[in-house]
Symmetry: C2
Subunit: 250 residues, 2 copies
Amino acid sequence: MIEPQPKLSEAEFTHALRSIGEQKYHHRHPFHLLMHQGRLGRGQLQAWAFNRFYYQIHIPVKDSLILARSQDAEFRRAWRTRIEDQDGTDERPGGLARWIELVKATGIPAEQLARKGQVLPGVRYAVEEYLRLVSHGTLLQAVASSLTEMFASRLIALRLDRLREHYPWLAGALQYFEHRLTEAPRDADFALRWVLSQAETREQQEQAIAALSAKCDILWAQLDAIYFAYVEPGWPPFEAFHPREHSHAA
Amino acid sequence: MIEPQPKLSEAEFTHALRSIGEQKYHHRHPFHLLMHQGRLGRGQLQAWAFNRFYYQIHIPVKDSLILARSQDAEFRRAWRTRIEDQDGTDERPGGLARWIELVKATGIPAEQLARKGQVLPGVRYAVEEYLRLVSHGTLLQAVASSLTEMFASRLIALRLDRLREHYPWLAGALQYFEHRLTEAPRDADFALRWVLSQAETREQQEQAIAALSAKCDILWAQLDAIYFAYVEPGWPPFEAFHPREHSHAA
């Protein structure tokens, strides 16, 4: 008979979650490495900003799906700030408006963002998978999938440095990332505390770890699709976004 | 005021559907071109057979979802043969058993097919998108998405020739494709007649054309993911299938 695995201590469980990030978070993706080395052309940054916008507009959808699944008003109040951060309020613009500034700074008119048919199928499918995960998994899995934010601020701090260094023409449009430097750790802290407290069995702990791993796949697969279409081999599908200046890595 | 577009004649509608195939069906995908030129190594054929099996096992799922959506016993009787073809009956093996023979002939033990965690995320997401399309679109869209079979037999006839020529060690395990040479045209004929009769307005005709286009994206994106991981640049994700003999294009 197979012995049931003992529940992980809080330190072991936290370590297991962090290990997923070290292995699989997209800070290691070659597209980001090229970006940070200054080896992407303007067209490739356009393609990234354009396709990644599709992910961005689905973040509040994802957070609303999570909101709808909780019966706990305290949880919902905390989670709601994510939607406000991304969509903005009457008083202040949100992350989406800041991402649009980034897109425009790459040289794409904002109107082109409406052409969702130009989004890479691989990016669309990854976003669908994220919505499926938070809709059909347990609430614990949905929340655990957000824990990629534990790894976000280090990546974003590096990215801000490197974008300013290598692509100075983008430097005035990096407010999205500047805001994320404070939003992501706050959101990750709340989500980590919630996951640690809600995963009551080893099986639930393993489900949370698997959900975080699945979310890393979702981020990674988007960059694979972008790299494949716009870096190497470099063939965007039939209807996809074609950069105005489609220059390959220098 | 914008005039509503007139309904297409049957010939025009059929032509529009066929044009999608000429533009976007995966007979044009570079992975298939390399395959047919004999430029794939055994490891790359393993990766293709392994990942494509994941698509294959979801074909009866997809067909069952379509079956469940029809109230017409005549339609269901015709559609049911697709599930029998793939799953087999008590008397005869089906397409899945034949695909497993193909996988084994590439040098992968059949047991490895159970390791679904090794399937490329990009392939998994494309399969999910297919299930989503047939579940949440109209029944007309679900059936129209199957019309890629109009283009299948020409691709399969070519593939059989080229596989026998370039990869003679596979020649004894091509029964899957031999059966598809007769199954696909029969299924496509039924589906085309059904779509032509059911699309009563121009809007419905356009929805059917869009569904066929979306299905071409789903097939194409799977090969993009396989090409990206196993041909060029050639990096399978962390947990993905790693070929026993991972040789690059000759």
